[in-house]
């Protein structure tokens, strides 16, 4: 029984944490929040340079070949430090789709570019929930025409993997006929854009059964995002605890009031449950275990709940100062929602978890 990460993996995590503490500052995040930057460039540069972003891309494709467990810990730190970078779009989603469904040539061509940061990629792989009628995106085998759904990092991506019917389609965004329509985002630190195509050259990802690949990639992303969520939730819990020890009212540290203590204990409990489910998901992802769909769905639901509770109650426990623009509480409030919905809400994933459990019981 060794339900923990290795010392080497922890060393990488420490290095990433140190780097992010220096570069992914509140100010850097706010540059993006307030629209002065599309992403935190220094943070992105460092994550690429350290080989952290490309931890799970094999060395033959220009990655660090450290595997998914390493990437999970990178994700935890990215979440903790609210990193405003295209890590999920490029690495959890697009690179994974290419790695799992691309031809050798497609992998050889694109993965090194993504790993080196030369190209930012994004992806839309489908979701169980939607608002507007599905975008009328058409692929004729050679070109793509129509509008994508809202894509995280769609404004800066050079490449997109899009689900069109039963296909996964690879489209270079420097190609002809591409226009970008920036869209407002509830979490402006993660900007959204719609892509419009007019007979833009595109190609099919070579692999068969794209629905299964998309589902597999989304499971992996669920695990990785769960680590971001756990990281973010831990950050706001720690900030709340520290504030409650500093701040006094009625002649006492407010953290000595049992109502505050118990609420923090409840947040902690939610986070720890999420953490162990995320760990279990990491194990399933890294060992390609048949438990992955169940473990990934569980990690996603638990982590979405934990970050939501931590962000909501974190503001509450800060009192008045908690809902000011100057405090970082609202960055977590927004990020919690962003991470909790971007690959489908907790409800969709809870349904998926139930599907798996009922299937297993049969």
């Amino acid at each position: 029984m060794n339900f923990d990460f290795s010392d080497d993996q922890r060393l990488l995590q420490d290095a990433v944490r140190t780097m992010l503490a220096e570069t992914s500052t509140s100010q850097a995040v706010r540059e993006v929040l307030e629209g002065r930057a599309s992403h935190a460039e220094a943070v992105w540069h460092n994550l690429i340079e350290m080989g952290a972003a490309a931890a799970a891309i094999p060395e033959q494709y220009g990655g660090a070949g450290l595997g998914y467990l390493a990437l999970c810990l990178v994700a935890e730190e990215a979440g903790r430090h609210l990193a405003a970078v295209p890590l999920a779009s490029s690495f959890y989603l697009a690179a994974e789709a290419i790695q799992r469904a691309g031809s050798e040539a497609q992998k050889q061509h694109w993965l090194p570019k993504i790993a080196s940061g030369e190209v930012v990629a994004t992806a839309a792989l489908g979701s169980r929930e939607r608002y507007r009628p599905a975008a009328p995106l058409a692929f004729d085998g050679q070109t793509l025409t129509g509008a994508s759904p809202a894509l995280v990092d769609g404004g800066i991506a050079g490449l997109a993997v899009l689900r069109v019917g039963d296909d996964l389609v690879l489209v270079e965004l420097a190609g002809t006929g591409v226009s970008r329509n920036p869209l407002p985002s509830l979490d402006p630190t993660r900007p959204l854009a719609e892509l419009r195509f007019d007979r833009t050259p595109a190609e099919r990802l070579a692999g068969a059964n794209c629905a299964a690949v998309a589902s597999r990639v989304l499971d992996g992303a669920a695990v990785l995002l769960a680590f971001e969520q756990v990281g973010g939730a831990t950050c706001i819990l720690e900030a709340t605890r520290d504030y409650s020890l500093e701040r006094k009212a009625f002649g006492r540290q407010i953290g000595s009031f049992q109502a505050m203590k118990h609420k923090m204990a409840e947040i902690y409990t939610a986070i720890e449950l999420a953490r162990v489910h995320a760990y279990y998901g990491a194990w399933a992802l890294s060992s390609d275990a048949p438990e992955l769909p169940r473990a990934a769905a569980a990690a996603r639901v638990a982590a979405t709940r934990a970050y939501t509770v931590a962000a909501e109650e974190g503001i509450e426990l800060h009192g008045g100062i908690g809902f000011t623009w100057e405090m970082d509480c609202h960055l977590h409030y927004r990020r919690a929602r962003h991470l909790g919905q971007i690959i489908g809400s907790e409800h969709a994933w809870r349904a998926r978890l139930a599907d798996e459990l009922i299937k297993e019981a049969a």
Binding site: E129, R132, L186, A249, G251, E312, E316
Partner: protein, 409 residues
């Protein structure tokens, strides 16, 4: 048991309704607010004009004695006016502190010549009042204020900082809680004043909220002079004055939960698909719609019980604290769920979605503030536990000690 008006109430309601129809402007969208499209100065001017009209018609302070410029009416008439006005585009918040806290405090504690000076222009909206109690180190624990008042001849010199002051940037006067004696225990060394917000040394800085709005301010006082005649109540009597001010507020029947959350949720669920079916058909969504109704209707009915007390000439009790406790958290939960309905697309700002979303997204961004302003969930639960259920107060170590000796001072 009868939800209908008494004949007297019905007659008053008809009168109010006729006046509003003749003079007011009805809301056309649920999230429409007064003065949309106007700049701040124009909005303020329009608000003052409305208040003047309302005061002239005798609706500005229905329960006040006629001598003080009120109507000498009943609390129930006040409630009826508010119910009817709710459908109209009116600048409610701007004068809320004037009418609900500032002027009543003046009426209770100021000398006759000051009442003559302040009540009429305040009611008519010519002068607007704010309330300056909270400080960075004294929020829920208002007794901890440290803004210093030092006597200097016939004046007092004020230095310090207040925070969470609604509308300070457009207000003319404020009621200001200060510490005038540091050798008395916490709540015994406080003195209340009227302060001229345009006086030299008063500086107002807006506080930006997470929603991007700036309804609140920090207010800094640097050697601000206040004549002793502007003192409200005795020296070191500020705590009692403040309690009387807050008591006024308590008489208003709380809870500002929209009563149609569930209807909005239904409308949004009809626009979304879950697993290729309309979300409105999902059993989980239906359960949440029911829960939204349960909470909001429950709050509405608790308020109805408060109104029943008012209608019988009694004051609603501390149990009304549950209205805000329930309403604020319900707003947060339902708004979050509404956003989730659309899955990844729910993360789009409302400008990119239909207009129905604007409402929910605003609630979602506003609800953390709603859970804090006017008493956090924790403070409200204390109120219920101690004042309704009769459970013991917290152990206090800061009650008998001179303020200057407290660790936090």
């Amino acid at each position: 048991m009868d939800f209908r008006d008494t004949p007297e109430e019905a007659a008053f309601r008809a009168e109010v309704r006729a006046w509003l129809e003749a003079n007011g402007q009805k809301r056309t969208r649920p999230d429409e607010v007064f003065g949309e499209g106007l700049d701040d100065a124009a909005k303020l001017a329009a608000a003052k004009a409305w208040q003047a009209k309302k005061a002239a018609a005798g609706y500005a302070a229905i329960t006040w004695p006629k001598a003080a410029g009120g109507r000498g009416g009943t609390a129930m008439q006040q409630v009826i006016y508010q119910q009817e006005e709710a459908a109209y585009l009116v600048p409610g918040m701007i004068f809320e502190v004037s009418i609900g806290m500032g002027l009543p405090t003046v009426m209770t504690w100021a000398a006759p010549e000051l009442k003559a000076r302040f009540l009429r222009p305040g009611l008519a909206g010519e002068e607007i009042w704010c309330q300056l109690f909270s400080e960075p180190g004294a929020g829920s624990d208002t007794g901890g204020v440290r803004t210093r008042a030092v006597r200097d001849g016939d004046d007092w010199i004020i230095n310090g900082q207040k925070v969470w002051t609604s509308g300070a940037h457009f207000c003319d006067y404020g009621i200001l809680l200060t510490r005038s004696d540091w050798d008395k225990p916490k709540q015994e060394g406080l003195t209340m004043f009227i302060v001229d917000m345009k006086a030299p040394g008063v500086e107002v800085r807006p506080i930006h909220q997470m929603s991007g709005d700036a309804e609140f301010n920090e207010v800094f006082f640097t050697d601000v002079r206040i004549p002793d005649s502007y003192r409200l109540g005795p020296e070191c009597g500020g705590w009692k004055v403040m309690l009387s001010t807050l008591m006024q507020e308590r008489l208003s029947v709380g809870g500002n939960l929209p009563t149609d959350l569930h209807a909005h949720l239904i409308a949004l669920a009809q626009q979304c698909a879950w697993d290729e079916r309309p979300a409105i058909e999902d059993d989980r969504v239906r359960a949440r719609i029911a829960d939204a109704y349960l909470q909001q209707k429950g709050v509405e009915l608790v308020i109805a019980r408060g109104l029943t007390a008012i209608s019988k000439g009694k004051a609603p009790g501390p149990e009304m604290a549950i209205t805000k406790l329930v309403a604020a958290k319900t707003m947060q939960d339902i708004a979050a769920f509404a956003i989730e309905l659309a899955g990844p697309e729910g993360l789009l700002g409302f400008e990119a979605l239909g207009g129905d979303w604007r409402y929910m997204q605003r609630l979602w961004l506003g609800s953390p503030g709603a859970r804090i302003a006017g008493g956090t969930d924790e403070i409200l639960k204390n109120v219920i536990a101690e004042r309704v259920l009769g459970l013991p107060g917290e152990i206090r170590s800061d009650r008998k000690v001179p303020f200057r000796d407290l660790e936090s001072a």
